[in-house]
C-alpha cells in the first residue's frame, strides 16, 4: 500500500512547508498517513519484517506474590500466607547462581510434578511451579520478570483499573481510547494496512478501541470468510467473484467511498491471506523442536487432549502441560500467533479471565496454578513457534507482554484466597528482551528479575513486617514501577515510536511529576519509582 517512500515524501513535504509535527494523522488522506507519520512503528526492516507485540490480559488480577515469589522476604510465609503458600524446597540450592534451576535435578520426569518454587538464581525470587516452562525462556535471557508494577493512587476496582491499564491514563477519564490503538494510529497504517491491531476474543478490548479507526477483532478466526447463500463451496466462490466485480464498479465520489474502497480492498487481501492460513484444528500441526519431557516433541498450541503435552504417547492426563480448560485460550493464542506471523498486523492480543481468586486460590496446585500453567506454556510455546515457524515475525521481532489490573493482598483472607490490592508482576518476553545475561564462566552480568531481588534492587525490596509487602495502606505490596513505563519503553524502544509519539500515546509521559522515564517520585502519592526498566 505504501506507494510513497516515507522519507522522500517528508523531504518534499518540508520543502513545501507542510511540516511534520502532526498532532494527529487522522485528517490526512489515508494513503499519505504512513508517509507523514513519525517514527518507525510498522516500518519493515531490510528483511521485510516489522517489530510486533502480543499482549495477554490476565483479567481479574493475578496474585503476583504467588507468581514470582519473594522467598527472600521472611514475610512471605505463614502466618501471612498459610493455606496458599508456595513451598521453598529445602533440598535445592537457593543462591545467586545465575540461571533458574531447571530442570530440577533428581526428577525423573523433569518437567512434571514440581511442587515447590523454582529458584530464579538471584537468591531472592522463585517462580511458581506452574510457571516452570518460563524457566528455559528465562535461562535463554529472553524473559524479564518485572515485579512491583502499579500506578499512583491505585484503584482496586476491576472496572476502573482495567480501564486505566487499557487507556494508559490512570485515575483519569480524560483519555477515552486505547493505548495500543493510539500506537496504531501513530504508525500511520491504521487505515491503509489490512490489519494493524488485532484482538482474538469475544469483542474488541478497550486497549484497541478508538473513534478514528476500527481495529479488528476475531471472535472466531475460522469465521473469517464470506458466507454466501446457498453456502456451498462453488456457490461461495460465485458470490465472492460477483462481489469482487461489484467492488470494481465506478461511482460518484462521496465522503466515505475512499475509505470503503480501501477497506474492501483490505478485506479482499486479508481474505486471501487468511485463506492460506489454516485456523482449523487440523491445521494445528505446530510442534516443539525438542522432546520436552524426554518423551516426544509436544504440540505448541494444546487445543485438544491429544495435543496436550505427552498425553498422546503416555495416554496419561498427568502428562498434560496445561489444564484441559485451557484449550479455548490456546486456540486464541494460536490465532494471534498466525496473524502476527503471516500478516501485516503489528499488535495482537487475547485475554484470560478468572484471576479474581477471592476464595480457594490454591498453592502449588489449584485455581491460580491452573491459570499460571497457561502463561508458562504460552510463553514457552511462542518462543518456539516464532523461532521454528518464523515467517513475517521472528522471535527477535516479537515482544510478549502480560497485563493485569492490580495485585492481590499480601495476607490471605479467611476463604483461602486473596483480595484486591496494588502492585503486581508483569511478564515481558521476546528475542530482543534484556533478560538474564551471564558471561562465559556463568557469572551473572544481569538478572532477568526486576524489582524482586532484595537489597540489590534499584529501590530495595525491604523485607519484614514493615517491608515492601506492607508499605501501601499497611496491607499491600508497594509499587516501585509504573506500568506505563514498561509499556512506554516497549512502544518506543521495541515498536519504534519516537518520544514525541510516545507522549501522545501515553499522555504525560515526560511530565516530571509522573517520573515515567527516569527514577523519581510520583507526586500524586509521593511514591518513588524507577522510571523505565531496562528491558529492551
Amino acid at each position: 500500500m505504501n506507494v510513497i517512500n516515507r522519507r522522500s515524501f517528508l523531504s518534499h513535504a518540508s520543502a513545501l512547508g507542510l511540516g511534520t509535527a502532526l498532532s494527529t494523522l487522522t485528517d490526512i488522506p489515508f494513503v499519505l498517513q504512513r508517509a507523514l507519520a513519525e517514527g518507525s512503528i510498522g516500518i519493515t526492516g531490510a528483511d521485510g519484517r516489522a517489530k510486533k507485540l502480543i499482549f495477554i490480559f490476565l483479567r481479574g488480577a493475578n496474585d503476583g506474590l504467588n507468581a514470582v515469589v519473594p522467598f527472600g522476604d521472611p514475610s512471605y510465609g505463614p502466618p501471612n500466607r498459610k493455606n496458599i503458600l508456595i513451598e521453598k524446597d529445602p533440598g535445592q540450592p537457593f543462591d545467586a547462581r545465575g540461571k533458574a534451576l531447571f530442570p530440577v535435578s533428581g526428577q525423573t520426569t523433569p518437567t512434571f510434578d514440581y511442587t515447590s518454587g523454582l529458584p530464579l538464581g538471584n537468591g531472592f525470587a522463585a517462580l511458581h511451579p506452574a510457571l516452570k516452562f518460563l524457566a528455559p525462556v528465562y535461562n535463554a535471557g529472553d524473559l524479564a520478570l518485572i515485579h512491583r508494577v502499579g500506578y499512583p493512587k491505585q484503584s482496586r476496582s476491576h472496572f476502573d483499573s482495567q480501564n486505566y491499564w487499557e487507556t494508559g491514563s490512570p485515575n483519569s477519564n480524560l483519555v477515552k481510547d486505547g493505548l495500543l490503538y493510539r500506537a496504531m494510529i501513530e504508525s500511520g497504517l491504521a487505515h491503509s494496512s489490512p490489519l494493524t491491531g488485532v484482538s482474538i476474543g469475544s469483542s474488541l478490548p478497550l486497549i484497541l478501541r478508538g473513534s478514528k479507526a476500527a481495529m479488528t477483532n476475531l471472535s472466531d478466526p475460522t469465521r473469517y470468510n464470506l458466507l454466501a447463500v446457498p453456502n456451498t463451496p462453488q456457490g461461495n466462490l460465485k458470490a465472492d467473484a460477483a462481489l469482487a466485480a461489484a467492488n470494481k464498479a465506478q461511482f460518484t465520489g462521496k465522503r466515505d467511498r475512499d475509505l470503503l474502497a480501501l477497506q474492501y480492498g483490505n478485506l479482499a487481501s486479508t481474505l486471501d491471506i487468511f485463506a492460506q492460513l489454516d485456523f482449523s484444528e487440523t491445521g494445528n500441526t505446530f510442534v516443539d523442536d525438542e522432546a520436552t519431557d524426554g518423551d516426544l516433541p509436544y504440540s505448541l498450541f494444546p487445543t485438544t487432549n491429544a495435543k496436550n503435552g505427552g498425553f498422546a504417547r503416555a495416554n496419561n492426563a498427568q502428562k498434560y502441560v496445561v489444564p484441559t480448560s485451557a484449550y479455548g485460550f490456546f486456540l486464541n493464542l494460536k490465532a494471534a500467533s498466525l496473524v502476527l506471523n503471516k500478516t501485516s498486523a503489528l499488535v495482537a492480543g487475547t485475554s484470560i479471565d478468572g484471576w479474581d481468586t477471592h476464595s480457594n486460590q490454591g498453592a502449588a496446585t489449584g485455581s491460580q496454578a491452573n491459570l499460571l500453567r497457561r502463561i508458562g506454556w504460552a510463553v514457552y510455546a511462542l518462543r518456539k513457534y516464532f523461532t521454528k515457524y518464523a515467517d513475517k515475525c521472528r522471535w527477535d521481532d516479537l515482544v510478549i507482554v502480560t497485563l493485569s489490573e492490580f495485585g492481590r493482598t499480601t495476607i490471605e483472607n479467611s476463604d483461602n484466597g486473596t483480595d484486591h490490592a496494588e502492585a503486581n508482576v508483569m511478564f515481558v518476553a521476546g528475542g530482543g528482551v534484556k533478560g538474564l545475561e551471564t558471561d562465559a564462566l556463568g557469572t551473572v552480568k544481569r538478572s532477568g528479575v526486576f524489582n524482586c531481588g532484595g537489597s540489590s534492587d534499584p529501590i530495595a525490596w525491604q523485607t519484614g513486617q514493615n517491608g515492601s509487602m506492607f508499605q501501601s495502606t499497611g496491607r499491600y505490596l508497594k509499587r516501585n514501577t509504573d506500568y506505563r513505563s514498561v509499556l512506554g519503553k516497549l512502544i518506543r524502544d521495541h515498536l519504534g515510536a519516537t518520544q514525541t509519539q510516545l507522549d501522545r500515546i501515553i499522555p504525560g509521559y515526560t511530565d516530571p511529576k509522573e517520573s515515567l522515564k527516569a527514577r523519581g517520585v510520583q507526586t500524586r502519592d509521593g511514591t518513588e519509582v524507577i522510571g523505565e526498566p531496562d528491558i529492551v
Binding site: S219, T252, L260, T270
Partner: protein, 837 residues
C-alpha cells in the same frame, strides 16, 4: 407523469477544437465531466465521470458553435463511456446530459436513510406518494402517529412454520415441552429446500381431515389428542394436540413413521400451521428423530412483537437482552422512525453503562441476575422518559438533560452516587467533567478545570435509594419499608428483602455547602477575578455575554436546587447550542461538522451556516416558545439546502445498529394477512452487533458514546462480519451459517417480489431493477448499470458459478428460484454501497 418521478436535465459542455488530435475537455463544474475523448474516422469515443443521482445519461452533439445541440443517436452508452459512429467525423461539439432525481425524489431517500433506519419497501412507496415534506411534518410530530406495537393484543390466528433440513430419520415427532395444548393443521414434508406445493406430501394424513388411524400414533403423554372441528386451517378439521407433561421423544409424542423411508443425505422441507395462543406457555417441537429437521417455538405466534417485551420492561422483569431486542424491534418496525433515531441519539449522547450499573447492584448485595434486571430497568426508564418527553411539541434540550441527570444509571456511571463535598472531602469530578465536555458545552468549549471543580461540588449529594414506588420521584424519600418477608428476623433491611424502586435521591448531608462561582476567570494565584464572557467568534446575539453563575452558600434539602439551576443555566448557552447542533448535523447531514467555527469572519461554508442557523433556531424559536426546542432545530436541518442536496445524500456510513436495522427493514413488506416478509425476535441478532465492532447497546464503557463516523466502524474484519450478517439473514432456514442470525431471523425475498413486483418475477433484469431501486434508491438508475449487469449475471448463472442457467427458466416457488434470488439480494447487500446511508 407523477410529480415524484419527474426528472429534469442538467447540462455539461465539451468544447472541441478543430483538430482531431487535440480534444480539450472544458468542464463546467457541477455537471457530468467529460474525462477523455478520442476520435478516428467514423468513430468518436468519450468517457465521463459519474454524476450523482443520475437516472439517465444522454450524449448531445452540435456541429459547430452556435448550432443547436441535438441528441447523438449514432452511438451507444456503456457505463460511463460512449462510442458514437458519427457519419461526419469533422469538427463537432459534444456534451453529456444527466437526468437526475427530482429534489423531492432525492429528499425522500435521504429522509429514509437518516430520519429513519433505512428505507423499507412500504415506507419508500409511502414517502414517494405523500411527498417528503409531509413525511418530515409527520415524523416531527410523533404524537400524531398512531402506533400500538407495544400494546398490540395478539389475536389468535393460524401461523405457518417452514423448516428445511436433512432426512436424519423416518420418524416424525410432535410434542410440547410441558402440559398444554395446540391446534395443528396441514403438515407437509416434501423433498427439496422449499415448501413446493407441486410436490407430493411424504406424510400420510397431514391435512388432518381423515381419521388418525395408523398414520399418527399417540403416545400416553398425548393420549388426549384428537381431530377436532373447533379450529381448522384447511378443510374442516385440525389436530388438537393435548399434552399432560413434557415430551421429548417418540414415547412422549404424536408420531408417524414416514414410508417409504427418508434419505439421510437428502434435503427435505417440513411445513405446518399452528394456531397461536397467548395462554399456553409450553413450546411446540416438530422434528425428525436425529434432528435433521427440527422446529421448536413458543405458541405466542409473534416472535417479532415488542408488546410482550414492553410488558416485561414495565414490570421490571426484563433482562438486558430483552431491552436490546425491544430497541431493535422498534428501530425496525416503528412508524415513529425519527423518534427511534433520536431516542438512540439521546441514549448515546447521555451514555451510561449497563455493566457498571449491574456491578453496583451486585456489590450492593443483589444476585447477579437480579442486579441485571435492576440495571436494565434503569436504562429502560431513562429511554422511556426521553421518548415521552419528545412527544411534547415544545420539548427542549433542557428537558433531555434533566432526564439524564436524574437517571440513577447516570448517577452510578459517573460517580456522583458517593460523591461528597462536605467537610474535607473532595468531590468526584467525573460527572462535572462529562457534563461540560460531552453532554453540553463540548470539549474545551467555554469551561476550564476550575469550573469543573466548582461544578463537581454542585453535584455532591446526587445519589440513589431504594424507595417505595409511590415515592419514585421524591428525591427526599426514605428507604422503602415494603419488605418481602416482613417477619424476617435477621437482615430484614437487606436490599434482597426490600421491595421498591431504585430512584434518584438527594443526600444533603454529602453536599458542599459553600458558595460556588462557576464560569469565572482566575488570576495566576487561582483567585476569582471577572466573569467569563462568550467569545467574540460567536458573534451576535451571543458574543460578549456574561455567562457566569454564582450559587450562594446554602444548607439542607434546598441545595438540591443548585443542580437544577446549573442545568438550566448551561442548557441554552451558545456553547451547548453549538455542540448539540454540530452533533445533530453530524447525525443527519454528514460527519464533516466541527465545533469552533468563527461565525463572524468572512469565510464560511454551508456547514458553518447550518450550525449557525440551528443555533439561531435554538436561541430565538419562531414560535416564540422556550429556547432549545428540539423540533425548531431539527426543522432547520431538514429544511436546509445542504440536507436536501447531494452533499448530504449517501454521505454517511451505517453504524452497526443502523446496518442491522436497515438490512431488516430493506426487505420487510407487509403481507395481506398482516404478517411481514422479514421477522426477527430481536434477540438472536444482538451478537451480530457485537461482532460488527462491539456496539453493545446500553453498555458503552467510554462516556463519549458510540461514534458516528465511518472510520470508527469500517475495517476489513468488521466488513467480513457485515457481509456474513447479510448472507446469514438471507440464508434459508436450516442451512449452515443461518445460526449467525438465529432461526428466528427470517427473510423472504420471493414473498417480497410477489407483493411488490409480481410482474417482474420471471425476468432477471426486472428483478434486478426492483432490488436496485429498493436498496440504492438515491444512487440513480444510470449509475447502477454495473451493479445491474452483475446482478443479472448472478441470476442467470447456476450455483457453480460457470454454467449458464436462465433465471427466466426457474419457477417461482421452487427451491432453485428461491436460492438464486436470495443469493443475488445478499450480494447486493454485501456491496460497499449498502454500507452507506
Amino acid at each position: 407523469m407523477k410529480k415524484n418521478s419527474a426528472l429534469f436535465p442538467r447540462i455539461a459542455l465539451l468544447a472541441m477544437s478543430g483538430a482531431l488530435a487535440s480534444w480539450v475537455a472544458a468542464a463546467d463544474t457541477g455537471t457530468p465531466v467529460i474525462t477523455g475523448i478520442s476520435a478516428e474516422p467514423g468513430r468518436v469515443t468519450l468517457g465521463f465521470a459519474p454524476y450523482p443521482a443520475t437516472v439517465e445519461y444522454q450524449i448531445e452533439r452540435a456541429d459547430a458553435l452556435g448550432q443547436p445541440y441535438r441528441p447523438d443517436t449514432t452511438g451507444f452508452l456503456d457505463g460511463f463511456g460512449w462510442t458514437g459512429l458519427s457519419s461526419a467525423p469533422g469538427d463537432g461539439f459534444f456534451r453529456v446530459n444527466a437526468r437526475v432525481l427530482t429534489p423531492d425524489a432525492l429528499l425522500a431517500t435521504t429522509l429514509l436513510q437518516r430520519i429513519a433506519y433505512g428505507p423499507s419497501p412500504d415506507d419508500l412507496a409511502r414517502v414517494r406518494a405523500i411527498g417528503p415534506d409531509a413525511y418530515i411534518a409527520e415524523q416531527l410530530a410523533p404524537e400524531t402517529i398512531t402506533e400500538d406495537i407495544d400494546s398490540a393484543v395478539i389475536t389468535p390466528s393460524w401461523r405457518k412454520v417452514t423448516v428445511t433440513g436433512t432426512g436424519s430419520s423416518s420418524s416424525l415427532y410432535i410434542y410440547l415441552d410441558g402440559a398444554g395444548e395446540v391446534y395443528l393443521d396441514d403438515i407437509r414434508l416434501v423433498a427439496g429446500a422449499v415448501d413446493d406445493a407441486a410436490k407430493a406430501n411424504l406424510l400420510r394424513g397431514g391435512d388432518f381431515e381423515t381419521t388418525l388411524g395408523s398414520n399418527w400414533i399417540l403416545s400416553p403423554n398425548v393420549a388426549g389428542s384428537a381431530l377436532t372441528p373447533d379450529e381448522a386451517h384447511g378443510g374442516s378439521l385440525s389436530m388438537h394436540v393435548v399434552s399432560v407433561g413434557a415430551g421429548s421423544s417418540q414415547s412422549t409424542a404424536v408420531y408417524q413413521s414416514v414410508a417409504p423411508a427418508l434419505n439421510a443425505a437428502t434435503t427435505y422441507t417440513l411445513s405446518y400451521w399452528y394456531f397461536t395462543s397467548q395462554t399456553v406457555t409450553a413450546k411446540l417441537t416438530v422434528r425428525l428423530s436425529g434432528s435433521g429437521i427440527t422446529s421448536t417455538h413458543g405458541l405466542g405466534g409473534a416472535v417479532d412483537s415488542p408488546a410482550p417485551i414492553f410488558a416485561k420492561l414495565k414490570d421490571g422483569s426484563a433482562t438486558m437482552t430483552d431491552l436490546r431486542a425491544w430497541h431493535l424491534l422498534h428501530a425496525i418496525q416503528s412508524r415513529k422512525q425519527l423518534t427511534e433515531v433520536l431516542r438512540q441519539f439521546w441514549e448515546n449522547h447521555f451514555v451510561t453503562d449497563y455493566s457498571k450499573t449491574r456491578d453496583y447492584f451486585d456489590n450492593a448485595g443483589l444476585a447477579t441476575d437480579a442486579a441485571g434486571r435492576v440495571a436494565t430497568q434503569l436504562e429502560s426508564k431513562e429511554n422511556l422518559r426521553w421518548r415521552a418527553a419528545m412527544s411534547d411539541p415544545k420539548a427542549t434540550f433542557h428537558d433531555m438533560l434533566k432526564i439524564s441527570a436524574e437517571s440513577p444509571a447516570m448517577i452510578i456511571y459517573l460517580d456522583t452516587i458517593n460523591s461528597k463535598g462536605s467537610g474535607t472531602s473532595i468531590a468526584n469530578e467525573n460527572y462535572a467533567r462529562e457534563l461540560c465536555e460531552l453532554f453540553s458545552f463540548g470539549v474545551d468549549n467555554g469551561y476550564d478545570q476550575a469550573d469543573i471543580v466548582q461544578i463537581s461540588r454542585v453535584w455532591t449529594g446526587w445519589s440513589i435509594r431504594l424507595v417505595d414506588p409511590a415515592q419514585e420521584f421524591n428525591p427526599f424519600a426514605f428507604v422503602t419499608t415494603n419488605y418481602l418477608d416482613p417477619n424476617a428476623i435477621t437482615n430484614k433491611t437487606a436490599v434482597t428483602n426490600l421491595v421498591g424502586a431504585w430512584s434518584f435521591n438527594y443526600k444533603a448531608a454529602n453536599h458542599n455547602t459553600a458558595q460556588k462561582k462557576i464560569f469565572f476567570n482566575h488570576d495566576a494565584k487561582g483567585v476569582v477575578t471577572t466573569p467569563k464572557l462568550v467569545p467574540a467568534r460567536f458573534g451576535p446575539p451571543w458574543a460578549g455575554r456574561d455567562y457566569s453563575l454564582t450559587i450562594p452558600a446554602g444548607t439542607g434539602n434546598p441545595t438540591l436546587q443548585e443542580g437544577y439551576k446549573l442545568l438550566g443555566h448551561m442548557a441554552d448557552q451558545p456553547f451547548t447550542q453549538e455542540f448539540l447542533s454540530v452533533k445533530l448535523c453530524r447525525l443527519f447531514v454528514h460527519d464533516g461538522f466541527a465545533i469552533g467555527y468563527d461565525f463572524t469572519d468572512a469565510e464560511t461554508t454551508p456547514e458553518e451556516e447550518l450550525v449557525h442557523a440551528c443555533m439561531l433556531a435554538w436561541e430565538s424559536p419562531s414560535n416564540g416558545g422556550p429556547k432549545g426546542q428540539l423540533r425548531e432545530v431539527l426543522r432547520t436541518i431538514f429544511n436546509s439546502a445542504l440536507f436536501r442536496s447531494d452533499a448530504a445524500s449517501l454521505q454517511k456510513v451505517k453504524t452497526p445498529l443502523e446496518f442491522v436495522a436497515s438490512a431488516m427493514r430493506a426487505l420487510r413488506a407487509r403481507r395481506d394477512d398482516g404478517s411481514y416478509t422479514v421477522s426477527t425476535d430481536g434477540r438472536e441478532i444482538q451478537p451480530v452487533m457485537d461482532r460488527l465492532g462491539r456496539m453493545r447497546l446500553f453498555d458503552r464503557m467510554e462516556p463519549d458514546g458510540y461514534p458516528e463516523d465511518a472510520a470508527a466502524w469500517i475495517s476489513a474484519g468488521t466488513l467480513a462480519e457485515r457481509i456474513r450478517f447479510v448472507q446469514a439473514a438471507l440464508m434459508p432456514a436450516g442451512r449452515t451459517g443461518k445460526s449467525d442470525v438465529g432461526a428466528s431471523t427470517q427473510t423472504d425475498p420471493v414473498g417480497l417480489l410477489r407483493i411488490k413486483a409480481p410482474e417482474a418475477m420471471r425476468d432477471a433484469g426486472k428483478v434486478a431493477d426492483y432490488f436496485l431501486d429498493l436498496l440504492f434508491p438515491a444512487e440513480g438508475k444510470a449509475n447502477l448499470a454495473a451493479f445491474r449487469s452483475i446482478a443479472v449475471a448472478f441470476l442467470d448463472t447456476a450455483d457453480d458459478g460457470t454454467t449458464t442457467s436462465a433465471f427466466s427458466a426457474l419457477a417461482p416457488g421452487t427451491s432453485a428460484y428461491d436460492l438464486r434470488l436470495r443469493g443475488m439480494v445478499a450480494l447486493l447487500m454485501a456491496t460497499q454501497r449498502f454500507q452507506e446511508q
